[in-house]
Every structure is written in structure tokens, then in C-alpha cells.
């Protein structure tokens, strides 16, 4: 079973970082990763009927244009598990994203051990 993962972050280097951090899982075919650098692009990919649906979404909060909070608010939380990755790791922010239905919170710098657990969980 392959988990389809969507990573949303305006930092373009997140893609090579995630591909390296999760390279074993990728090689093992446990996951597939797609990347979006903005909320609008992410929403378009999520609602794309031709592609297979995502199982996991990991989103940044602070992004130009729409923020991760908007993404959280907009998407169907039952369709996939959603996690947040942010440099803002204070209690208020954690509480807010939890309330919006996020299953996990990864504070930057990201601990890929936690990420691996999240993306590989079924």
C-alpha cells in the first residue's frame, strides 16, 4: 500500500529535503510525494479527479497569499490526514491548528523521524 503525500510549503528547498529525508520510504515504494509551493496550487491538486486522492497532507502555515490555516479550514479532513509544519511552534499556534483538525505538528527544524512515522502510518 502506497501513501500519497502532499507537501505544501513556499520554501522550494523543502522538496529535495523531503525527498532525501524520506528516500528510503520512497525507494521502498511506501509513499509517493507531491509538492505545492502555495495553498491555491495545493487545493487544485487535492481536487484533481484524474489523480489518485492524497492520504497525507503536510502544510506550512506562513506562506504568501493564503496561509496554512486557510488550507486547514478549506479541506475535507476526513479525506486525508493533515499535518502542519511550521517555525511557529508556540502553544497558541499548536492549539489553533489542532482545533482546525490537524493530526500532527512538526516544528522547524523538522525531525524526519516523526515525519516518517506520520507518512507511513496507515
Amino acid at each position: 500500500m502506497t501513501n500519497r503525500v502532499l507537501v505544501v510549503d513556499d520554501e522550494k528547498d523543502m522538496e529535495p529535503l523531503f525527498r532525501q529525508g524520506l528516500r528510503r520510504e520512497l525507494k521502498a515504494g511506501k509513499i509517493e510525494i507531491a509538492f505545492a509551493t502555495g495553498v491555491d496550487a495545493a487545493l487544485a491538486m487535492i481536487s484533481d479527479d484524474k489523480a489518485a486522492p492524497f492520504d497525507k497532507v503536510i502544510s506550512d502555515l506562513n506562506m504568501p497569499g493564503k496561509s496554512g490555516f486557510e488550507l486547514l479550514a478549506d479541506v475535507d479532513k476526513d479525506a486525508f490526514e493533515i499535518a502542519v509544519v511550521s517555525a511557529n511552534a508556540d502553544v497558541d499556534t499548536r492549539a489553533k491548528v489542532e482545533a482546525l483538525g490537524a493530526r500532527a505538528f512538526f516544528a522547524k527544524p523538522v525531525n524526519f523521524g516523526e515525519v516518517r512515522n506520520f507518512v507511513t502510518a496507515t
Partner: protein
């Protein structure tokens, strides 16, 4: 010359010639009259004599009694005025003669003639003529004597008149004038009225009276004037005293004001420092966030590189044992990844360094140095910092930042950390304004910040435009004033734009303007002069 002569002399020099002239005219007139009278009397007397004697010679001439005729003529010539007598017969021949016979006007000798008649039997018959010559010599001699006498009399009279006139002049004019002079001399040196002692009822008396009136009027005026002057002096003295007191008060007030100003300056500099600290505090959250992004990459890429180095070792060992294309490709891939990772680590490490340096620049106090800088970079970093600061402060804050930066913008000498402060401030305000508008939950509203740079002729133009709440017309004039803030108490120091204004105007000799439409947004435009030489080296170090 004339005006210097004494009154007496003037009087005499006018009176004497005039008196002599008038006297002489009268004298000549009277003398002439007298002469005419004397001549008339003489002529009458000679006429009478001729008439009488012509009667008395009538007989002798009829009878030609020559002796008798001679007797008559010699008796006639005895008259003092008669100088000649002649008797002519009826034919005109001289019968008897004595003395001068010819009338000579030059010698003032005149002639009287009379026909001699004789009554013969009752018939009147002209028988001859009597001629009498007479002279006015005696009359003229009398006239000379009379004239001399008259002249002497006139001279005496004139002398007497002059003496009289001088005496009159003395008593009627000179004495009162002397009194005037005395009185005026005395009056000049005293406050008292010194009347002219002259009480006649004539013109001089009137003048004295008028003068006395005038003097007493003048004295009372002077007294009044002196009184006013004294009052004035009193007043001036009092005013001077009051002014001196005022001056003391003013100096006191000025000292107080100066002291207050000093305190104000101290407070202001403390406030400016606290504004810097406040904005630094605001920024630090944003900076912390901002720094975690590069840190994430540095940490994780290095961590993964360590793992990959392990894999590389294994791959190398495998390749050394049995080199295949597969192992070769794996090694190549791993080294490429490692190389990329190191580049990324370097890149993000540098990024973090920049952020920290910006923060330090922002917090640094005191004069900053001019250096050549690319304003695009300063602006971009500042806006980024402001953005993250806003996001750190307000959970869920977001804004679209639209950059339109002139890629050909020349570098200019400026104080980058100061300009960074300006831009952070403008961007923070813009974000605050859009956030306030977001709170109103207007449909379709998306916060937008546009930053724009352009090179103009001698300057660089920077626009920071937001679509926030806008600034009300009523406070647009005040936004650059120190301590003016529209934010709720505790949120703003009111120094941000004031500092920005100082930095742009004072440090950079530039300009900052603002355009705003309430409810639509605000544009701040900053002009920074293009400077190709370091102003710090020109000796006017700020």
C-alpha cells in the same frame, strides 16, 4: 553791516538826511517866493518914481529948462536902486542924462520908461520920454544875507529837532527796550514770571503787556511741561523697574523652559531608544521564525548528508569489491546529492546570517555609516522581516506581497540599517492597516502590499502601497509628528514615522510623502537622492 548798527545810529542816519532834504526844499521854495516879492516891490517903486518924476519934468522939458532937468535926474540917481536916468524930447533925442544908459539884463539892470505929457491950453501933448534904469544888486545882496541867516536857523532847528528826537527815542523806545532786555534776561534763568516794568497806555505799554501775558502763559506751560516730564520720568522709572522684574521672570521662565526642553530631549531620546527596542521586540519573534526556516535546511541537509556519507562509504566498498555500472551510478548520485546538500547548507547558513545581521543592524544605536548599497535588497529584506514579524504577532495573519523592483536600480550611498528601519516601519504599518481592514470581514477583500522601486533622474523612488484602511484626511498632516499614533494605547510609540521622516530628510536629504484614500489604502513614497560619493567623507559627518 547795517543790521549791526545801533538803533540810535540808524535813527540818525535816516532822520538827518531826511530833515536836511525837506528843510532845503522848503527853504528854496520860500526863498524863491521872497525874491519874487522883493522884485515886484522894487519894480512898483521904480514905476511910481518914474510916474511922479515924469510929471515933475513935464514943465522943464516944455520949456527946455535943462538945468532944471539935470537937477531932477541927479536927484533921481540918488535913489539907491536907480543906476541911470535919461530924458528924451519928442524926437527921441536925449536932452538930459545921468548914469547908466543901456539896460543890460545880464547885469540885472532893468529899464522903466514913461511918456512925458504937457497940458497946453487944456490939450494934452506928448513932449518927450523919461527912461529910468535900475539894478537889483541891492536886492540880491539883501537876499544873500537873508539866506545865510535862514540856513543857520534851519541848521539850528534841525539840531534841536534831532536832540529832541533822540531824547524822545531814548524815553519812548530805548528805555522800555532796556527794560524788556532786563526782564527777558532775568526770566530766562528763573521759573518765575519777570514782568517788563512798563505801564504806559501806548504801543510800548501794549507790547509790554502782551509780552507779560505771553511770558506768564509760557511759564505756566513750562511748569506744566515740567510736571508732565517729571511724571513721565516717574513713569519711565516705574516701567523700567517693571521691565527689569519681567526680565528676571523671563530669564527664570526661559531657564525653566530650557530645563524642560533638556528633559524633553532626554525623554525623547529614551523614547526613541524604546521605540527601537519595541520594534526590535516585535521583530525578534519574526526573526526567530525566519531563522528557523534556513536552520531547518541546515540541520536536516547536514544530518542527511552524514547518513548519505555512510551510504557512500558502503557503495564505495561494494564498488571496490565488484565494480558495476549500478554501483558507479549510485556513487555518482550520492556525491551529486552531497554536493547539492552542501551548497544548500551554505546557502541557508548565509540566509540565517543575513537575518541575524539585519536584526543587529536594526538594534544598533548611534550614528550609522554611509555605504554603497542596493536599495532593492534593503527593501526586500525589510519587508520580509516586517511580514514575518506581523505573522509572529498575529496568528493567521497573511498578506500578498507584490514586488515590482527595478532590476537596473543603481547602487547609492545610504545608511542601509536606517533605511531598513524606514521600510520595516512602512511595511509594518501597511500590514497593520490591512489587518484592521481584514477584521471587518469584507467580502472579497484580500490584503495586498505592493512594493515598487524606480530610478528617477537624481534619485531613487520607493513606493510602499497597501490596500488597507487608509489614513483619515484629518490626521494625514500629523502622522510624521513624534508621538502621534492612531494605534490603541500600548500598541504604538508614535515614533516610527517620525523616525522614518528624520532618517529620510535629515540623514539622506530625501523626501517622504504619503497619499491615502480612506477605506482604500495608503501609499508612502520615499525619495532617496542618488549619491555616488560617500557623504561621510565630505566633512559633514552627521
Amino acid at each position: 553791516m547795517w543790521s549791526r548798527l545801533s538803533l540810535r545810529f540808524k535813527f540818525l542816519s535816516l532822520v538827518i538826511p531826511l530833515a536836511i532834504f525837506i528843510s532845503l526844499v522848503f527853504f528854496l521854495f520860500i526863498d524863491n517866493q521872497l525874491k519874487k516879492d522883493a522884485q515886484g516891490t522894487l519894480a512898483d517903486r521904480i514905476e511910481e518914481l518914474t510916474r511922479v518924476q515924469s510929471g515933475s519934468i513935464s514943465g522943464p522939458l516944455w520949456s527946455f529948462n535943462i538945468l532944471q532937468l539935470n537937477l531932477v535926474t541927479s536927484s533921481m540917481i540918488n535913489d539907491p536902486d536907480v543906476v541911470g536916468v535919461s530924458v528924451l524930447d519928442e524926437t527921441g533925442a536925449v536932452v538930459a542924462a545921468d548914469g547908466v544908459q543901456e539896460a543890460n539884463l545880464e547885469d540885472r539892470i532893468f529899464m522903466r520908461q514913461r511918456t512925458v505929457s504937457f497940458f497946453d491950453d487944456g490939450t494934452k501933448r506928448d513932449i518927450g520920454e523919461l527912461r529910468v534904469f535900475y539894478s537889483e544888486e541891492r536886492l540880491l545882496a539883501d537876499a544873500v544875507t537873508r539866506r545865510l541867516t535862514a540856513l543857520v536857523a534851519i541848521a539850528l532847528l534841525i539840531g534841536a529837532l534831532i536832540i529832541g528826537a533822540l531824547v524822545g527815542l531814548h524815553y519812548t523806545v530805548l528805555v522800555p527796550l532796556g527794560r524788556f532786555a532786563t526782564a527777558i534776561g532775568l526770566a530766562r534763568d528763573t521759573d518765575q514770571v519777570v514782568p517788563v516794568d512798563w505801564n504806559t497806555q501806548d504801543e510800548m505799554g501794549n507790547v509790554a503787556h502782551a509780552f507779560n501775558d505771553l511770558q506768564s502763559q509760557q511759564k505756566s506751560d513750562e511748569a506744566e511741561l515740567r510736571r508732565i516730564q517729571d511724571n513721565l520720568e516717574d513713569l519711565v522709572e516705574k516701567r523700567t523697574e517693571t521691565l527689569a522684574q519681567r526680565e528676571v521672570q523671563l530669564v527664570g521662565a526661559r531657564d525653566k523652559a530650557e530645563h524642560a526642553l533638556e528633559e524633553l530631549r532626554a525623554t525623547q531620546s529614551r523614547l526613541i531608544q524604546s521605540q527601537k527596542m519595541a520594534s526590535l521586540g516585535q521583530l525578534s519573534a519574526g526573526i526567530a521564525h525566519e531563522i528557523k526556516n534556513p536552520l531547518n535546511f541546515v540541520n536536516n541537509f547536514s544530518l542527511m548528508s552524514v547518513e548519505m556519507l555512510g551510504e557512500l562509504k558502503e557503495a564505495l566498498a561494494a564498488h571496490n569489491a565488484a565494480p558495476t555500472n549500478e554501483t558507479k551510478e549510485e556513487i555518482a548520485e550520492l556525491t551529486q546529492l552531497l554536493s547539492d546538500n552542501l551548497e544548500k547548507i551554505e546557502h541557508h547558513g548565509h540566509r540565517a546570517d543575513n537575518i541575524v545581521r539585519n536584526m543587529l543592524l536594526h538594534s544598533r544605536d548611534g550614528p550609522a555609516d554611509f555605504r554603497q548599497a542596493q536599495i532593492n535588497n534593503v527593501l526586500r529584506e525589510a519587508v520580509n522581516l516586517a511580514f514575518h514579524s506581523a505573522r509572529a504577532e498575529v496568528a493567521g495573519f497573511n498578506i500578498t506581497i507584490h514586488e515590482e523592483l527595478d532590476s537596473d536600480l543603481p547602487e547609492t550611498f545610504c545608511v542601509p540599517q536606517d533605511l531598513s528601519r524606514v521600510f520595516i516601519n512602512l511595511a509594518s504599518n501597511a500590514m497593520y492597516a490591512t489587518h484592521q481592514k481584514t477584521k471587518k470581514e469584507l467580502p472579497g477583500y484580500e490584503p495586498l502590499l505592493e512594493i515598487h522601486t524606480a530610478a528617477e533622474k537624481n534619485r531613487i523612488r520607493i513606493d510602499v502601497r497597501d490596500n488597507g484602511e487608509g489614513i483619515p484626511q484629518s490626521v494625514r498632516e500629523q502622522v510624521f509628528e513624534p508621538f502621534f499614533t492612531s494605534k490603541p494605547t500600548g500598541e504604538g510609540t508614535g515614533l516610527g514615522l517620525s523616525l522614518a521622516y528624520d532618517i529620510v530628510h535629515e540623514t539622506h536629504r530625501g523626501d517622504i510623502r504619503l497619499e491615502s484614500e480612506e477605506g482604500e489604502g495608503t501609499t508612502f513614497t520615499v525619495f532617496i537622492p542618488l549619491v555616488s560619493e560617500n557623504p561621510d567623507n565630505k566633512g559633514d559627518k552627521k
